[in-house]
């Protein structure tokens, strides 16, 4: 808002006044009023008018300039009504009141959804927690009686899908359900390897582990989940013969890269950019018909929340390699 645009808006009213004053002066001049007198009338007419306009301009300019400045500088633009001072002029006050009411209602509205989402997340957590008891019982029963027939493996898969539900619920924006701690990559990799031991053994997949001596900072459980998804994929898309999965790590100046490489069927080049998309299964996924398109999407989502990098390279029929990048903050590392 500047003086030019302001006067532009007031122009019609000013013009009417000028025209009226013109007509009025003609009448005055016809009845032989002196030129000086007409000038005085003119001053009495226009000086207060212009002063009133200038005052109005001053008030409005202050308010609107704040509005624009705040709007530009605010990170969360919807917070604007909270910090704007109440205007001293009528229209401004009316609009501001209306905006504030709308803002408050929207706030309540959003809170309802937040609560609902939180309720839902809590329900999912409880449900996952409860479903594990019968699942445990079933596995124990089978284990103790040496009955298997592949049932245990199916239960393991069921368990994996249940985990997915849990981490999907945890990965939303409202949730802050993670805890950063220091742990060794070997510890997590070992856990994941053991979890999938049966698959490795029965499908005769060779597992090669690097030294994995690096310590990283992140949430251990989430990383375990991400890694498990990647390993499960690697197992699922392995070839029939001489399969191998290599898990190695490389330290750099400011990061540690964990690399999971398989020599499986690989991913088509045109599918590669979309593997982290929700629901994307690609041709491979569809042919194998087991893919839900959720595994890698979840990995990406969780990795993003933890500030971990995740990327994938592949060559069809040669290999698929997933890179998990742990940033290493130097200041963190120097702490005892």
């Amino acid at each position: 808002m500047n003086i030019l645009s302001f006067s532009h808006e007031k122009l019609p009213f000013l013009l009417i006044n000028v025209v009226l004053f013109g007509l009025f002066s003609i009448i005055l001049w016809k009845i032989h009023i002196s030129f000086e007198m007409i000038l005085i009338v003119g001053l009495a007419w226009f000086v207060p008018l212009i002063i009133a306009y200038l005052l109005e301009y001053g008030k409005k300019r202050r308010y609107y300039q704040h509005l624009i400045d705040y709007q530009e500088s605010l990170d969360k633009k919807y917070l604007l009504p909270e910090i704007l001072e109440r205007p001293t002029f009528l229209e401004g006050a009316i609009v501001q009141d209306a905006i504030e009411i709308a803002y408050k209602q929207m706030h309540e509205h959003i809170n309802i959804y937040k609560r609902e989402q939180k309720d839902y997340q809590e329900y999912i957590e409880t449900w996952v927690h409860e479903i594990k008891t019968p699942l445990s019982s079933a596995k124990l029963i089978l284990n103790n009686r040496d009955i298997d027939y592949g049932v245990i493996q199916e239960l393991d898969r069921t368990e994996q899908f249940i985990e997915q539900v849990l981490y999907f619920a945890r990965s939303n924006n409202v949730s802050e359900d993670y805890l950063i701690s220091k742990f060794s990559l070997r510890e997590v990799v070992t856990r994941v390897a053991k979890k999938n031991a049966k698959d490795f053994i029965y499908k005769k997949i060779k597992l090669y582990l690097g030294e994995l001596n690096e310590m990283v900072y992140s949430d251990k459980k989430w990383v375990e989940f991400i890694l498990n998804q990647i390993v499960v994929n690697a197992i699922q898309y392995s070839k029939k013969a001489s399969s191998e999965i290599q898990i190695t790590s490389t330290p750099y100046d400011n990061k540690v890269v964990l690399q999971i490489k398989d020599n499986g069927i690989g991913i088509k080049k045109k599918d590669l950019p979309r593997v982290f998309d929700k629901g994307f299964t690609g041709e491979t996924g569809r042919t194998y018909s087991k893919s839900t398109g959720l595994g890698l999407y979840l990995c990406k989502r969780l990795a993003d929340k933890l500030n971990l990098g995740i990327s994938i390279e592949s060559k069809q029929n040669i290999h698929t390699t997933v890179f998990l990048v742990f940033p290493m903050n130097k200041s963190l590392l120097m702490e005892p």
Partner: protein, 224 residues
């Protein structure tokens, strides 16, 4: 073969019974809690060597209980839970539990953790020596003796022989053997197992034992 007594505190009857059966099969003495009103005095009476503790119990939660037990005893406690997050794990360890396992657990892993915990806690009492007739296996030294001769074993060979000696007379399939090795952090594949098996046989033969480990084609290995 070992006289350790494990107390199972779990309110789900099926899981409780199955765990008991499994641990008994693994050679442990077991005791179970069936009344949850006053677990603490039951623990006192039972005086176990290790406690498997479920978090979700009627009347009292596992965390509180573990803190109460810790006040009067140093018995190793493994907390078992279906809640799976970092916070719970930290909480349990802070409240005096020695280990933390999430449901649904793999029995191999559970047994391995129990064994490890026993080894850690009762290192002097635990039987580091296993014998089978004239054949003596010293786990701590990683060596096997037969009459006055000695052979040093690698980690893999040691584990294999240990398992075969423990299950003397029963046929162990290659897969079972590998699952056991994996549960002890030895991620061997099929070929490695064959190589290790051959080396182990040769070492045992050098000691003067003829046909120490039989191969049953299509079934597995057996030691008699």
């Amino acid at each position: 073969m070992n006289r350790f007594k494990i107390l199972i505190i779990e309110d789900e009857p099926i899981i409780r019974d199955e765990l008991r059966d499994h641990l008994q099969n693994a050679g442990y003495k077991t005791d179970v809690v069936t009344e949850f009103q006053d677990i603490l005095s039951y623990v006192r009476k039972s005086s176990p060597d290790l406690i498997l503790l479920d978090i979700n119990l009627p009347y009292i939660d596992g965390y509180t209980l573990s803190r109460e037990i810790r006040k009067e005893s140093n018995v190793p406690i493994i907390i078992v839970t279906s809640r799976d997050n970092e916070m719970d794990e930290l909480l349990s360890i802070n409240l005096g539990a020695d280990d933390f396992i999430t449901k649904p657990y793999n029995l191999q892993i559970l047994t391995a953790r129990i064994e490890a915990l026993f080894k850690r806690t009762y290192v002097n009492q635990s039987n580091n020596v296993l014998s089978c007739g004239e054949l003596i296996l010293d786990i701590a030294k990683g060596a096997v003796y037969y009459h006055d001769k000695q052979q040093i074993l690698t980690k893999n060979e040691l584990k294999i022989l240990h398992y075969l000696m423990q299950h003397r007379g029963t046929i162990i399939s290659r897969e079972t053997m590998m699952e056991y090795l994996w549960s002890s952090d030895l991620f061997v594949d099929d070929n490695t197992l064959s190589v290790n098996m051959t080396r182990l046989r040769r070492k045992l033969e050098k000691l003067g034992i003829t046909n120490p480990i039989e191969t049953r084609r299509g079934l597995g290995y057996v030691m008699s």
